[in-house]
């Protein structure tokens, strides 16, 4: 059955002839080519054989009208005379005349008998007649006069000959046309298949499980190259998503298993060794706190995955960024104050609207402020700024903390990075990685810089750029 499901990983069989797009293109090519050729032949025919026919008919018609005229002027004798005159003048013996009386008596003309298959007055016929010592193909016209019947015609034997020749020529050339069309179609099909082959081979390789394949491009920049380039872009995107997924599983394996193992060990230990109810109770409380932390990390991971997958673009809405940032600053200002720090803001009254996800942007900024407050010593200053750079909207959080050495910055945006100096501080180590994911979701980037280059300590400045509406 053709619609039986294909087993994954099997090489797909080449499409059957009728299903092959190449074959269909080829058929289309043949059809168009044949229509064009037929049109050409039709025009040729009309201009040659058709013209001869029309000429014959016109000449017969004129001849007949002249004879009828003659009859009206000078009666039957005049007509007979005119016919005989004409016959005498016709050296090639092409003309045919027959004039008979009402009783069937022949009065003039070069036909012996009134042909049997002749109809009414004024009609045209093609017929075979005894003429010129043989049977000839003729075109005749019948005109009835009072008491007389007149046939005017032309021997068409030569024209028939000519038409035969013409038909033969046309048949040959149509044959040639078909052969060329078939050849052309086959070439098109081959070319199409040849250009498709790399993409098919790549897709097969990927279906086989190796994502590293890419479609080789011919460099011609044609449709196939564009298709290949699009496929490659798609594959790059898939590869990066897969890497992200792998990252999540690694992170889950490492940073969720570790606290789970720790919590489990603690609970088990206290079950075995706890001296009394109070101790057991304390251990359980600790266990619950550990579980809460684990689910917090889990939640953060899911948020990052959501942002990275771009799944939340559906929730995008135009938002007033300064408003959102002022809220966040107000929210954290109390905390900075409790840490004896100053939280300064430099926010324009209005900014070009950003289309985004309020919750995610807020969480990203909150993570940055939270980090800044955590790492800045008492007496320090934290700044939240936003500005329009023309192409982008930039949101920056700077602090006067220890900063981050340049070699650690790329890593800091990765999941679960925690500088050695911060191991004792609370937090999942996912904050900056969410910031980056959110920036990328909004068509931007997150960059780490020195807040005060050259100073010691340099402080940290994190800039998130966001695409404008």
């Amino acid at each position: 059955m053709s619609d039986a499901p294909r087993l994954p990983g099997l090489r797909p069989t080449p499409p059957r002839l009728l299903q092959s797009a190449g074959f269909r293109f080829a058929l289309l090519f043949i059809a168009i080519y044949s229509v064009a050729a037929s049109f050409l032949v039709a025009v040729l025919w009309w201009a040659t054989a058709g013209a001869l026919d029309r000429q014959t008919i016109a000449s017969i018609r004129t001849d007949a009208s002249t004879l009828v005229e003659r009859f009206r002027e000078s009666g039957t004798p005049g007509l007979v005379e005119a016919i005989e005159e004409r016959l005498a003048l016709d050296a090639q013996n092409e003309t045919i005349y027959l004039l008979v009386a009402a009783d069937g008596r022949r009065l003039a003309g070069n036909l012996r008998d009134w042909p049997t298959a002749i109809g009414e007055d004024g009609t045209w016929f093609r017929t075979r007649i005894q003429h010129d010592g043989g049977v000839a193909e003729a075109r005749v016209h019948r005109r009835d006069l009072p008491g007389l019947r007149l046939l005017v015609g032309r021997d068409e034997s030569e024209r028939v000959q000519l038409r035969l020749l013409l038909t033969e020529g046309v048949a040959w050339s149509l044959g040639a046309v078909l052969i060329f069309a078939g050849l052309g179609a086959a070439l098109i099909r081959r070319a199409l298949q040849a250009r498709m082959r790399p993409a098919v081979a790549t897709a097969l390789g990927i279906a086989g499980g190796d994502l590293s394949h890419r479609v080789p491009l011919s460099g011609q920049g044609d449709e196939f190259d564009r298709l290949g380039a699009t496929m490659n872009d798609m594959l790059d995107r898939i590869a990066s998503l897969m890497a992200g997924l792998r990252g999540v599983s690694d992170a889950i394996a490492h940073d969720l298993r570790t606290p789970i193992a720790r919590a489990r060990a603690k609970l088990e230990e206290s079950l075995n060794t706890a001296a009394g109810e109070a101790e057991l109770r304390a251990a359980m409380e600790e266990g619950i706190a550990d579980l809460d932390n684990i689910s917090r990390v889990f939640q953060a991971l899911l948020r990052i995955a959501e942002a990275e997958a771009g799944a939340r673009r559906a929730a995008f809405a135009p938002l007033d960024l300064p408003e959102v940032l002022r809220d966040a600053a107000e929210f954290y200002e109390a905390m900075a104050e409790a840490h004896e720090q100053r939280l300064e803001t430099d926010l324009p009254e209005h900014l070009a609207h950003v289309v985004g996800d309020r919750d995610l942007l807020l969480q990203a900024v909150a993570n940055l402020l939270d980090n800044a407050i955590k790492f800045t010593p008492p007496g320090g200053v934290i700044r939240l700024e936003a500005r329009d750079t023309g192409a982008r909207i930039e949101v920056a959080v700077s602090d006067s903390g220890p900063g981050l050495p340049p070699q650690d910055r790329a890593q800091a945006l990765d999941r679960f990075y925690r500088a050695d100096s911060s191991r004792h501080l609370p937090g999942s180590g996912l904050g900056l990685s969410l910031v980056r994911a959110v920036a990328q979701l909004h068509g931007g980037e997150a960059v780490l810089l020195d807040a005060m280059p050259g100073a010691d300590p340099p402080g940290l400045r994190v800039v998130i750029s966001l695409a404008k509406l």
Binding site: D292, A311, A315, E337, D359, D370
Partner: protein, 227 residues
């Protein structure tokens, strides 16, 4: 005391929630799938519903609420859900839910939310003044006084206090404050809420013996008259 319908398919979670709510003095009916839940909710009267978002039996939490709301049933609904994505929460609230709690949760959080929902003011008459002991909050002039003495609060502190006072005598959790006062739907890594509450507390209690805002261990805060 409230009569609560719990629709939850997980036996352990259901038992835990039912027991906790009963210990808090409520009556709990339990259904373990959407169909039975809908039948109970439609045929009996409950003060509030606690629904799992995903339920077996063809009728999930969202469908259940939509159906009830179409029938004109206005009982408050709290969703419990393992689906934490913001879109899911919005979906649940749009369907007619009043609150949304993500699993895993602390029972104290659930109880606080259940009581906050169940004791919403029944009269639609607008309140213009809130009073707890000698503390007064005027919603029209937006002023706070304690024993007649005016206390200066910032707009956000005003909203924080208003929320606590509207739920005077009830536990209000940090997450509830974050959601209701700041409209933030994520978990800040450090407890910023505590800083805001202690600031407000200082302003209110300065010069008075009796503290009004109390910290409830492992749960949140509560404003009430007696210390």
């Amino acid at each position: 005391m409230m009569r609560i319908l719990l629709v939850e398919d997980d036996v352990e979670v259901a038992r835990f929630v039912k027991k906790g709510l009963q210990e808090a003095g409520h009556t709990v009916e339990h259904a373990s799938n959407g169909r039975d839940g809908l039948f109970l909710a439609a045929s009996e009267s409950f003060d509030m519903l606690v629904l799992d978002r995903m339920l077996p039996g063809g009728v999930d939490g969202v469908r259940l609420v939509e159906t009830l709301r179409q029938q004109g049933n206005r009982s408050p609904v709290l969703f419990l859900s393992a689906l934490s994505a913001v879109d899911e929460r919005v979906k649940g609230l749009k369907a007619g839910g009043d609150d949304y709690l993500v699993k895993p949760f602390a029972f104290a959080e659930l109880l606080a939310r259940v009581e906050a929902l169940g004791r919403r003011p029944s009269s639609e008459a607008p309140v213009t003044k809130l009073k707890v002991a000698d503390l007064e909050l005027d919603l029209l002039s937006r002023t706070v006084t304690r024993s007649g003495r005016k206390i200066d609060v910032q707009p956000r502190e005003f909203r924080l206090l208003e929320h606590l006072m509207r739920h005077a005598g009830q536990v209000v959790t940090r997450t509830m404050l974050l959601e209701k006062v700041w409209d933030y739907h994520f978990d800040p890594q450090t407890n910023v809420i505590d800083v805001h509450v202690s600031r407000l507390r200082q302003k209110l209690d300065k010069g008075f013996d009796k503290p009004l805002i109390h910290t409830v261990r492992n749960a949140g805060y509560m404003i009430r008259a007696e210390g």
